[in-house]
Amino acid sequence: MGLGAFARSEALTLGVELELQLVNTHDYDLVSAAPDLLRFLSRRKLPWDIKPEITMSMIEIATGVCHRHADALSQLGEIRDALVAAADSLNIGICGGGTHGFQHWGERRIFESRRFGHLSDLYGYLAKQFTIFGQHVHIGCPDPDSALYLLHALSRFVPHFIALSASSPFVQGHDTGFHSARLNSVFAFPLSGRAPYVQTWDAFDAYFESMVKTGVVESMKDFYWDIRPKPEFGTVEVRVMDTPLTITQAARLAAFVQSVARYLLVERPFEPGESDYLVYTFNRFQACRFGGQGTYVDPESNAHRTLSEELDATFARIEPHAMALGADQACSELLRSLRTGEGDAALLRREFAETGSLPETVQRQCQRWRAA
């Protein structure tokens, strides 16, 4: 399967995918309920895309093409309501969060399909360890070359996206000390990380073809990059975010990504370069580990500041674009949530401190997911 042509899409349109956790309502451990839930949902004709993921305790939902934050929020709301109703009928809990706090990876089951079976054979236990839950945001690009510009320019904002979405402090029953521990599981994959620095679609196509020739990849799906192009949709897909605890937060994050993208595509404020990637993994790690308190190294000036300071500066720069997209309120609420310590990771830690129990923390995640 080749790369194919880069589909036409309306610039700066928006699509949101969320991977969600399926838990039982007794001890709130993950439960292999995806086939049950999908079967139950298949009785109704739903306009949304609801898909299985690699293990049976995960499910992925996706909006259609949205123009504004408000569209995304209302579509996510409708999907959420349909899912919650189905889950209630099956006595399953659904929740957000980048990791499940206390599941054991060894108990996960691979969803039965050709692709997932292949991945499981290839990656072994990594496939089960991949029971982590992310939010992906697609941004429509007018043409493939601007898609690649956007992809590389967005890489400077990966720490921002991570810090704002981080919701995975607990892994396998322990507090990791990370705000987003989820991304550590992604890094184990050989084809994870970042896309090669090529600036034109022709060059990218050539890279892809030579990778296919090596026999290492078959399709774009085999790349687990933080940001990757999606030629079928004509979009660039940002994949570093943890699934937040609510659709409200998910829609805000999407609005923020969209506003940054508009800032980049309209203003073309800088030319990205290979040298941007010198600090990429450092910045990314700092954001995962420390959230807003992490260090951000400016790839251009090499100045060090906290990610919070960098976020403030970014918000100031993108504000006119956020306003043009009707996303300014969503963006400022997002920033405020991080500043006031109401980010999802902080929230989960607080709830664990309050209840002293991870199962109860997950139960509250379920309540939060249905409520907002």
Binding site: N24, T25, D27, D29, S32, A33, D36, N91, E107, Q363
Partner: protein, 401 residues
């Protein structure tokens, strides 16, 4: 004779020795047998119990049962309370098809057993009591097999819920019918109506008290640690003594109390599997001791009818599960597995029969032979059936980390 510190023969051993031997034998036997046949532990315990009982060594007899009754009651109370906590009443309110399926499978099981016994010219009252008891699925078997295989999923969850519901129906229906017997035997119809009502309302009352006591104590104690575990034991002992003092049945109150706990407080309520070591001892005995109840005479006189009952009851439960399974969100395969998983009968049926015997000695004996035989087969085969059903539904997590 002068008091001496030295023991004098013949040595007197009490119940403790017999319990010790029963436990040792059950565990050793299960350990050896399971090397050759991959069956659930409780199946082995039940087999071990049969070997110790009148069918084998005669180490235990049915007359001994009252002496061990306390242990069986406590084991059942613990199990039923835990089962109750796993019954999410909110879910049943949301998915009425599950309730419809439960009512149907129980009604069909009652009708099938009752009909067959009538066709065999059994007395209608006796037939009704047996049919009522046969509605119930053994909570002990389904819970222990689910725990042992670490099963989790739609079939497991529905098996537990339907077992909880049909156990409640079985207790209530058998008490109602016994009430009717009061009327029939003694001509006292006021008592016939009032007594079952008292049993049911009384059980609900005690169950409610248990639930609120649990909720109150949960504010201070974590039931998943050792201290909390002791409190939970104490709470259920308290419940049992209240039930005994008030002449109420053992099963209903802890079951209802558990379900009420989950209803008023949907947080996870967790404690160690089998309630820790003490619980594991009790549950082992729960499967070993019923072996004492079955005699060759029971088997000889009850076997034919019991096997026929087993078939029609299994068929009825299967049909019940299949009818509303798909509407309630199961696949056909899952519905079939669920129907099969509802087949076990065990200690609770034994207790119900014993309760009847206490009130109507002559009446109970006839029923006993049939129910005991049915129970024996459905404890052994039923536990294997549950294991098989959960495996075929892909819900067991054996051999995992």
């Amino acid at each position: 004779m002068i008091d001496t510190p030295w023991p004098a023969g013949p040595f007197e051993f009490g119940e403790v020795l017999r319990i010790a031997i029963a436990l040792l034998w059950a565990i050793l036997f299960s350990d050896v047998l399971r090397r050759f046949v991959p069956i659930p532990r409780i199946t082995c315990y039940a087999l071990a119990g049969l070997m110790l009982g009148p069918l084998g060594l005669g180490w235990f007899e049915v007359q001994d049962m009252p002496r061990f009754r306390m242990l069986i009651d406590l084991a059942l109370a613990l199990l039923l309370f835990e089962l109750g906590v796993q019954v999410n009443l909110r879910w049943l309110r949301t998915n009425l098809w599950v309730v419809a399926g439960s009512l149907l499978e129980s009604a069909l099981a009652f009708a099938a057993v009752f009909g067959l016994l009538l066709a065999l010219h059994m007395d209608a009252k006796l037939a009704a009591v047996i049919a009522a008891i046969a509605m119930g699925t053994s909570p002990a078997v389904v819970m222990c097999v689910a725990a042992e295989t670490r099963a989790q999923g739609q079939v497991t969850q529905r098996m537990l819920v339907l077992a909880a519901l049909n156990t409640a129906y079985a207790i209530i229906a058998s008490k109602l019918i016994i009430g009717g017997l009061h009327g029939a035997f003694k001509g006292d119809w006021l008592l016939a109506v009032m007594h079952p009502l008292y049993l049911i309302l009384g059980s609900f009352g005690i169950g409610t008290a248990l639930a609120f006591a649990f909720k109150l104590l949960r504010r201070r104690f974590d039931f998943s640690d050792e201290q909390g575990g002791v409190i939970l034991f104490a709470l259920l002992l308290l419940t049992l003594s209240a039930l005994e003092a008030l002449n109420l049945p053992v099963g209903l109150a802890p079951l209802f109390g558990g379900a009420l706990v989950k209803f008023i407080d949907p947080r996870p309520h967790l404690w160690p599997r089998y309630f820790g070591t003490a619980g594991a001892v009790l549950f082992t005995l729960l499967f070993v001791l019923p072996g004492a109840a079955v005699t060759w005479h029971d088997l000889a006189s009850g076997a034919g009818v019991a096997l026929a009952l087993l078939l029609v009851r299994g068929l009825a439960k299967g049909c019940g599960a299949l009818t509303f399974g798909p509407a309630s969100g199961l696949s056909l395969r899952q519905s079939l597995a669920l129907g099969l998983a509802l087949s076990p009968m065990a200690a609770l049926a034994l207790l119900l029969v014993q309760d009847i015997r206490l009130i109507y000695p002559a009446f109970g004996n006839e029923a006993a032979a049939i129910v005991f035989t049915l129970m024996t087969v459905l404890e052994l085969a039923g536990s294997v059936a549950v294991q098989w059903a959960l495996r075929s539904a892909g819900e067991t997590r054996e051999g995992g980390a």
